[in-house]
Subunit: 298 residues, 2 copies
């Protein structure tokens, strides 16, 4: 550990400081540097996180392009870019041309996996979410085909131009195995039944914008939340690092160091435009909190 942190000139990304388990995708092991604890018992509810199944469903819902791994005639793995829509149970629907190598592959061997990844960021492409959905493709018929066709077109309206051509095929990937990686130190295997019943986070498309807005225009409110709800009564500054249907991830500066508490909403947000109301409610609760007594060391 000291070997890592002690290396001169090596900047350790903040995210790594929080890693507590050995990870498989390139982060160093945990460090000895402990973030500061709250000084008061947090008034916010225990902050639930999206489950791995919800993360997987959210990633799938947030894109319409992925990389398909299929098997070439000789059994070698072949990767190729595909577009997809998703059925209500999270099964991806691919539309592929008979002229494409992956289509010939799928017709000969139905085994496939689809990788969907958040766009890489500049800092570190490994600190981003991605999911692998592995299973077998089927060509849906009848009502199942109609549902698959509609799901693909919802994601890719321009495919209307050729979706019914004779030389295109619709495939549904029936999922048997899901592996989600959320970035450094966050990963899990998801059982197919859990994946099927999980829902994508409805606020995910707006969460980056919401965090930007909170940081740009509501720094005072974030500080009130950090002090009153997260219990960092010595906080001097708070930033929103992320927002999801269950709460906010904060970065809180204190004289004792930087903490990364999570503050939960009273209830999960169920509507795509519900983040604003949930944040207003957090501020209301922060202002209503009695900051006398109830120290964390009580």
């Amino acid at each position: 550990m000291c070997q890592i942190l002690g290396a001169p000139g090596v900047r350790v990304p903040a995210i790594m400081e929080r890693v507590t388990d050995p990870v498989e995708h390139g982060a160093p092991p945990s460090t000895a540097r402990e973030p500061p604890a709250p000084l008061r018992r947090p008034a916010a509810l225990p902050a639930r996180r999206r489950s791995a199944a919800e993360e997987a469903r959210t990633l799938l819902a947030g894109a319409r392009q992925g990389v398909l791994a299929s098997l070439s005639a000789d059994g070698a793995p072949w990767g190729s870019v595909v577009t997809y829509g998703a059925l209500a149970d999270g099964a991806p629907v691919l539309l592929v041309s008979l002229m494409a190598e992956h289509t010939r592959n799928l017709e000969a061997d139905a085994r496939a996996s689809l990788v969907v990844a958040e766009p890489p960021n500049d800092d570190n492409p490994l600190d981003r979410g991605r999911v692998t959905l592995a299973g077998r493709v089927v060509q849906p018929e009848g009502a199942a085909r109609a549902a698959a066709r509609a799901a693909h077109l919802e994601a890719m309206p321009s495919a209307e131009l050729y979706i019914d051509f004779d030389d295109f095929r619709l495939f549904v990937l029936e999922i048997e195995r899901v592996r989600w990686v959320g970035g450094y130190g966050r990963m899990d295997t998801v059982e197919a039944p859990d994946y099927v019943v999980a829902a994508p986070d409805p606020v995910a498309p707006h969460s980056h914008g919401a965090a930007r807005h909170l940081n740009a225009d509501h720094a005072d409110a974030l500080l009130e939340i950090a002090v009153a709800l997260a219990g960092f009564t010595d906080a001097s500054r708070a930033r929103c690092e992320g927002a999801d249907r269950y709460g906010l991830d904060l970065e809180v500066a204190t004289p004792r160091g930087t903490a990364h508490p999570r503050v939960g909403f009273t209830a999960p947000v169920d509507a795509p435009d519900g983040l604003r109301g949930a944040c207003v409610e957090l501020v209301r609760r922060a202002r209503a909190t009695d900051l006398s007594g109830d120290l964390a060391t009580d």
Copy 2:
């Protein structure tokens, strides 16, 4: 064809109007609408395009994250996100943890392919470049390992923290087969020897910015180029749609319709910062062109 263009309310992306060959990734077949021809014989040199091998090398050089397809123990295809650097011959160098499924896969069966794709755009994710590099991985030793290590670190400096850990492996993907797709109607298979000797386009990292700058600040110069060098003497407006080491792709408005000529530089640009000089030279040539006589119909 009329079936496509005649559909009411269906916007046909401009790019599709230029498709002349059947394609495998979802574009409709060619349309009957012919773009206008130049009125004068173009004064610019025949505008070379990047070869498929150069496109593949340019894509690889422009990213450091891709999706690896490997084989699970049961022979099923498994996709996963990996980071890479590239050796001088374009072979990707992967750094993977023993804890990761893809590492176990590669150690059991060396066959793999790596997909590198441009980030999707909002209009249509299929109208973007991507490449599949297929082959077998090897674990380099001695001087080859040192070169591979340096190549990976050049792309991923933060990997310095763990690249020498016992539970990480460096793999070089020795390429046997390359499939490049440039978007609708642009695709090719590249032979491995051609891939190895091709060079990435040095101006690719700056080409989007250059096109934006030309359109924002030098619309008059683009129009001069369209008139004098591309031969569209009736052009009313010209935009730069793309720039590469060999020339500019223009969109030219004329009373006869919109044309998409390409204008070649006098010599390929060899330096990352060479686009500006090449464009200045184009404008100089445009202004020096004698526009009397020499009609395309001569």
